[in-house]
């Protein structure tokens, strides 16, 4: 089956009000080119599920997000995400704020097709007070109450990987998969952008198949988007773009700053975007972060 599509095809299949999971973690391996394609579209009222970084910030800035399911939104080296922060402080965002591990369990439950997974995480906290839809349940096996973390099924998952083939076999060689496999399993449709498009034979070599973390049954479409994670990182291919993130964060301090950022980096289209951030060769030289 040939699953190759263009970014525009992916966004054309999305609908207002959908629940969209975005892979990666903070400033790392985010499907930013697909996010930019959403920013160029008239889509609205999205429920976004993410370990959030600038993906969430930009979608908030553009008014695309009705509800956010999150544990944090952060650029890590810049702890606070300015546009997410502005949306929260304006009181315009509906939120489901949960623990990072609860998000793991919610995605896992969706992938397992069970309504919830019991956990102790969340007990005694305001996470439960603000989210009455998350229930405590009695256990059939002991006398304690447990948090029943509800499944978080996704209409669509958007992910970025190092390389993929047209069948939807996806490979991640960075040291951390984050929760991308769980997103792929929690979603009805999973669209994956890849830095490198390869032939199926590439996975037959050596240990290459060990870096494939979900079966192609979970991949609906593949988009070839070199540097598609920029300005987030795609280790080991490139690190995150500190300079670009600083410019993005600085834009939030200006009146009309988002409109200017949008005009310069989003409206211009993806080919011109890559030119404006220095070109593919420059992106691939971005150093990997040191923590």
């Amino acid at each position: 089956m040939n699953k190759l599509v263009k970014a525009g095809d992916v966004v054309a299949r999305l609908r207002d009000g959908m629940t969209i999971g975005i892979g990666g973690w903070g400033p790392r391996r985010k499907p930013m080119a697909l996010v930019r394609e959403i920013l160029r579209s008239p889509l609205k009222d999205l429920t976004v599920v993410a370990y959030g970084g600038a993906d969430v910030g930009m979608l908030c800035a553009a008014g695309k997000v009705k509800k956010l399911v999150f544990a944090f939104v952060s650029l890590d080296f810049i702890p606070l995400e300015p546009y997410f922060r502005a949306a929260r402080q304006a009181g315009t965002l509906e939120v489901m704020e949960i623990d990072e591990g609860m998000l793991v369990l919610g995605l896992k439950a969706a992938g397992m097709r069970v309504p919830f997974i019991p956990t102790r995480t969340g007990l005694g906290t305001d996470v439960l007070r603000h989210l009455p839809e998350i229930k405590l349940v009695d256990s059939p096996y002991d006398d304690k109450q447990w948090v029943a973390m509800p499944a978080l099924p996704l209409d669509v998952a958007l992910l970025h990987v190092d390389r993929a083939d047209a069948r939807g076999v996806c490979q991640v060689k960075g040291p951390d998969l984050y929760m991308d496999d769980l997103y792929a399993r929690a979603a009805t449709h999973t669209y994956v952008s890849c830095d490198e498009l390869v032939e199926p034979a590439a996975f037959e070599q050596g240990e290459e198949a060990r870096y494939v973390f979900w079966e192609r049954t979970q991949t609906t479409g593949v988009v070839h988007l070199p540097c598609g994670a920029h300005p987030s990182s795609c280790a080991p291919l490139y690190g995150f773009d500190v300079k670009h993130f600083k410019e993005y964060v600085a834009s939030a301090k200006e009146a009309g700053g988002w409109a200017q950022y949008y005009e310069r980096y989003i409206a211009c289209g993806e080919d011109e975007y890559l030119r404006r951030v220095g070109g593919a060769e420059a992106v691939k030289k971005l150093p990997l972060p040191v923590f």
Partner: protein
């Protein structure tokens, strides 16, 4: 007492948090907790595990800042998914930096303000605080001991569970919660007072118990005799110089 001497005193006192933990994952979020965990792993608890703050468990703590020729000593893959496996199993002791802490040890890094729907200041979100606090031991580092950090009532968003009986679910006990030390720029405290009351353990040189109480929004348990936080030893200082070769810790108290 110089700023750097105070910071080193704090890091050494904080490293004591892990002394009796045995073989657990030590996580220090922020430079002071990370250096404290690193120091503990090289001195009072050599069985500790630490990560490179990215995706690997390392056999010796990684120095902070640019590494030059230093190569991390990988021992086990430890991506984020496995961090949660470890958290849920309980063999971890994290030291974190909450923005607000209350008398129960409930802590907040999510948002500040009276209206959750429209925060006065939005911060990070609850991150892993709910899971950490109900699954394993936790300690806190608060660089600016004040009534803004140690609040009078409950914290604005209870991100991590504390010793608050009103919030226990059925079948759970306060003993299921394990909050260890609070290290600040003024003192070291724990929850060893009557009924898990916050107790003053030691005062940094030149600080009085009155000054600490003044800077705290709730009553502290102050024992009859409160020791002075010990000065770093020559060995500890030498290790800190190695773990922080660029002196990044100098600005840890906001100086």
């Amino acid at each position: 007492m110089s700023n750097m001497t105070l910071i080193d005193t704090i890091i050494c006192a904080a490293s004591e948090a892990w002394r009796h933990d045995g073989e657990v994952l030590a996580t220090g979020i922020g430079i002071v907790p990370r250096l404290a965990a690193s120091l503990a792993m090289l001195t009072c608890n050599r069985d500790l595990l630490m990560t490179d703050s990215e995706a690997w468990v390392v056999s010796e703590p990684v120095p902070v800042g640019p590494r030059g020729d230093y190569r991390i000593k990988r021992e086990t893959h430890m991506g984020f998914a496995r961090i949660f496996d470890n958290v849920w199993g309980g063999r971890r002791h994290a030291m974190v930096g909450p923005t607000q802490v209350d008398r129960y040890g409930q802590a907040n890094i999510s948002m500040v303000g009276a209206d959750y729907r429209k925060p006065k200041v939005q911060m990070l979100g609850v991150r892993g605080f709910p899971g950490n606090s109900i699954n394993h031991a936790n300690s806190f580092f608060v660089p600016n001991h004040s009534t803004r950090a140690f609040v009078e009532g409950e914290v604005d968003m209870v991100a991590s569970v504390g010793y608050n009986p009103a919030r226990l679910a059925r079948g759970w006990k306060l003993d299921d919660i394990d909050i260890r030390l609070i290290i600040t720029n003024l003192c070291v405290m724990d929850f060893g007072g009557p009924g898990h009351q916050v107790r003053l353990c030691s005062l940094h040189p030149g600080v009085t118990a009155d000054a600490v109480q003044q800077a705290t929004g709730f009553p502290l348990h102050v024992p009859g005799e409160v020791k002075t936080t010990p000065a770093p030893t020559a060995e500890q200082l030498a290790l800190l110089a190695r773990l922080d070769p660029h002196g990044l810790r100098a600005s840890a108290l906001g100086a």
